[in-house]
Symmetry: C2
Subunit: 431 residues, 2 copies
C-alpha cells in the first residue's frame, strides 16, 4: 500500500486489527495466486496496483467524492443500473462479499446453510471489515434469490435503514416488464431524492456512454480470449471483471483497453499464457466476488486455461449494451429496463435464454469443457446446472459441476476432481 | 383399506411393490402416532378412515370424476386459488410431498441440499408412488421459493408438459397486485381452456361459498383449540388441516363441523386431550404435508399440546375469507386476487404482516412457547425465524427454532431439545 490509511479506516469505524489481518491474508493470496503466474501481460500491472490499494487509494477517492457531495451507492447485483447512479454523479460500488469473513457473526442472524456470498456481505459489515459499506449512502439490494431477499431484511437493521430493495420479477412476461420499468423509475426517483440532482437526458446519455464503453472494453477482452493460445489467463481476466465493480469507470475502461491493445499484439504474434492446444475451460454459474479466485487457481494451476466466465462477474455483466438512442429521460429509462432484462440470471423461470448464451459463448471461446460453478446453497444455479449439463452434452464436451464455499478445506478434493475433468478432454497439458 | 385397488393403481402406472411398502410404513406410523393417542374425539374416526383410504377410495373418486369429464388439478401451494378450480367443476388436489420417497432418484436432478418437500414431490413422481400426480390433468406450480421455482422446470419434463406456473411476486406493492390479478385472470382462462367450461358469476359464487365454508370450519376448529385444556390434540388438528388439501370439500367441511360440534361440548365440559395447564405450543413456519407428523409427535409425546399452526398447512390456508359480494366474474377474480395476497408467506419481502399474525395467534391460543419449524434448506422461513424469535421475546415466552428433514435420524436429538424447551415454560407436564 502506498501510504498509511489507518486514520481514514478508523474514521470509517473499521476494526483495525482484524482489517490488518485481512489485508495480510489478501496480499499473501494475491502473491501466491497472481504474481506467481508466468507470461502475464504488462497491462495487468495496473490491476495489481488496484488490488494493492483495494481498501486504500480507492477508498480515499470515494471519501473525497463524498466530501464533494457525490453519493456513494453500494450494490451486490448486476441488475442494479449503474447508468442511473452515474446520472446523478453518484459512485457505484460493488460491496465486499467474496471472503470468509465474519462468518460466526453472520450465522447468528442467518442459517449456516446460507450461501457464502450472503454470509460474507453480512460478515464483512458485522466484523467492521468493509470500508465500502461504511462509506455508502445507500445500499441497493434486490430480490434475485431467497437468501439475499430475506437476508437484506436483517441487513437493513445493521446498516441503519440505508437499504433500498429493487424487485426483480420471477419471469420475463409483459407484467414483469411493466413492473421492472416501474422499479427503474422508482430507483431513479430515489437517486434524485438522495442526491438532490435531477436526471436530465444529457446526464443520462453521458452516463450510458460511460457504462456502455466499460462493457465494450470488457467485451473486447472476452473476445480476445477466443484466441488459441489465450493471450491472458483466466485468473487475470477474472480479476479485471472483478475490478469492474468498484474502480472508477472511465479510468477502468481506459486501462482495460490498454490491456486489450497489448493482448491484440500477443494474439497476432500467436503468443499466449499457455501452450496452444491446452484444455480451454468455460466457467458458468454463480458470481465470484473478490477475492474468490479458488476455482480459477485450481483449474489454471492444473495447466488448463479458463477462457470465459458465464457469470455475473463476467459475461452477464457486459454482454449486452444499452440502446443510447433516446431523447427523453423516460425513453432512456425504458431502454435501461429493456437492457437489464436481457441478463439471464437463474432467478428467472424459465431461463432457457441462459442455456442459449452458454452454448454461444462455448462456441465462441472454443471451450473444451464446461465447469459449472455454484456457491454452495445457491439453489437457482445449482438446480439450473442440470440443464447446463445438457448444453455440454449437445456440444459433446465434458461437463463438471462443482459446489463449494469460500473455505480452503476442499481444495485437495476439488483439485482431484478438476484434474480428472481435464483428462477427459484427451488433451495433454503443456505449460 | 376397504378393498383391493391393485388394478386401479396398475392402470395409473404406480410401482405396485414399492407402493405396498409405502402404505405399510404409513399404516404403521399412523397406528403408532395417531391411534395410540388418548381421549381422541369421536369425530376423528372419519379422518382415520380418510387416511386408511388415502390412496384408495379417494383416488377411486377422482378417477370417477375424471371419467365424468371433470379436470383434476394438482397443487403444492395455498396460493393456487381453489375457487377457480371448483368454478370449472375441477377437482383440486394437494399432491404428495410429505415423505422421504424417491430421494435417490430426485437427487439425480436436484441438489442434495434441497428441501425435503421438493425432493419428495419429485421423488414421489420418479418412484411412481403418487396416484394423485398420475391422475392430474394439470399441475400448478408457483414461484414461491428458489427451490420450487427451479425444480418445477425439471419436473415439467417428468410430467410431460402438464405443468402450469403461477407467478407469485416478491413484494405486495401496487405493481405486484396488478401482476397477481393478471395471473389470476390467466389461470382462470387456462382452466376454462382445459375444462371447456365457462366460469360464470353463479359458478364462481358457488365455488367461493364452498371454499369459504371450508375455511370457516377450519377457523372454528382453530378457535376451539384456544380452550385450556385444548379439546383436540395438535396431531389430530394437523391431520384435519392436511386432509383439507385432498378431500372432497363439501364432505370435508361437514365432517370438520361435526368434529367441532363435539369439541364444543368438550370445551363446555372442560374436557381436553391433556391436563389443564400443560404447556401450550404454537408451531410456526414451513408447511407439513402428510405424513409429516414428526414435530407434533415429539412435542405431544413429551406431554405438551400444540394449539396452533402458523403454517400453510394451518392458519395461512384458512385465516382469511374471500369477499363473496361480487356480481361479475371480473369482480370475483379481483376479490380472489385480494384474498390470496393476504397470505403472508415468507417469500415476500418485507413480510412484517406474518409477524403480526404470529403475535395475534399466539395471544389467541394462549401459547406458552413458539416452536419455529423449518424444513432444512427452506431459506425463506429459516431466515425469517430470526424475526419470529423477536415476537416470542416481546411476548416473553420461550422460542425454539428447529430445522429438520423427513428422516427419523435426528429424532433423539430433537426430543432432547424439545424437552428442554418445554421445561423453560416452568409448567409441569401432566398427562
Amino acid at each position: 500500500m502506498s501510504k498509511d490509511y489507518k486514520q481514514m479506516w478508523s474514521d470509517l469505524e473499521i476494526n483495525l486489527e482484524a482489517h490488518d489481518g485481512l489485508l495480510g491474508v489478501l496480499s499473501d493470496a494475491y502473491t501466491n495466486i497472481y504474481l506467481s503466474q508466468k507470461n502475464r501481460p504488462e497491462g495487468m500491472k495496473y490491476f495489481d496496483f488496484v488490488i494493492s490499494e483495494v481498501h486504500g487509494l480507492r477508498i480515499e477517492e470515494i471519501v473525497e467524492a463524498k466530501k464533494q457531495g457525490r453519493k456513494i451507492i453500494g450494490t451486490f447485483c448486476v441488475y442494479v443500473p449503474e447508468e442511473l447512479i452515474l446520472a446523478v454523479d453518484g459512485v457505484c460500488i460493488g460491496l465486499c462479499a467474496g471472503a470468509d469473513v465474519g462468518t460466526d457473526e453472520a450465522e447468528k442472524y442467518i442459517p449456516r446453510n446460507t450461501c457464502a456470498l450472503i454470509k460474507a456481505f453480512m460478515g464483512f459489515k458485522l466484523a467492521g471489515l468493509c470500508p465500502y459499506v461504511q462509506t455508502a449512502d445507500l445500499i441497493v439490494g434486490e430480490t434475485t434469490c431467497d437468501g439475499k431477499k430475506k437476508a437484506y431484511e436483517l441487513f437493513d437493521e445493521m446498516i441503519k435503514g440505508k437499504l433500498y430493495v429493487m424487485e426483480i420479477p420471477n419471469k420475463k412476461g409483459q407484467d414483469d416488464k411493466a413492473l421492472w420499468l416501474n422499479e427503474i423509475q422508482r430507483f431513479s426517483a430515489k437517486l434524485e431524492e438522495i442526491s438532490g440532482k435531477k436526471i436530465t437526458p444529457e446526464k443520462l446519455k453521458e452516463a450510458s456512454t460511460v457504462v456502455n464503453n466499460k462493457r465494450k472494453a470488457l467485451q473486447r477482452l472476452a473476445s480476445l480470449r477466443s484466441a488459441d493460445p489465450s493471450p491472458i489467463s483466466g485468473l487475470d481476466a477474472l480479476l479485471v471483471n472483478q475490478v469492474a465493480f468498484y474502480d472508477d469507470p472511465l479510468r477502468f475502461t481506459a486501462k482495460v483497453n490498454e490491456l486489450c491493445d497489448e493482448l491484440t499484439v500477443r494474439v497476432k504474434a500467436g503468443k499466449g499464457v499457455s501452450a496452444k492446444g491446452n484444455p480451454r475451460i468455460l466457467i458458468s454459474g454463480s458470481p465470484m466476488a473478490i477475492p474468490n479466485w479458488k476455482i480459477h487457481a485450481i483449474v489454471e494451476g492444473s495447466g488448463a486455461t479458463i477462457v470465459g466466465e458465464e457469470s455475473c462477474v463476467g459475461e452477464r455483466n457486459f454482454a449486452s449494451l444499452m440502446d443510447e438512442s433516446f431523447s427523453s429521460v423516460n425513453e432512456g429509462l425504458r431502454n435501461i429496463a429493456d437492457r437489464y432484462l436481457t441478463i439471464n440470471c437463474a432467478c428467472f423461470t424459465p431461463n432457457n435464454e441462459r442455456l442459449i448464451d452458454i452454448e454461444t459463448i462455448a462456441k465462441r471461446v472454443k471451450a473444451d469443457g464446461i465447469l459449472h460453478y455454484a456457491i454452495q446453497f445457491c439453489t437457482p444455479y445449482m438446480i439450473e446446472a442440470t440443464k447446463v449439463r445438457k448444453v455440454a452434452e449437445k456440444r459433446k464436451i465434458p461437463f463438471l459441476r462443482i459446489e463449494t464455499d469460500y473455505s480452503m478445506e476442499d481444495m485437495g478434493q476439488l483439485k482431484t476432481r478438476i484434474e480428472a475433468f481435464l483428462e477427459m478432454m484427451g488433451k495433454g497439458v503443456r505449460v
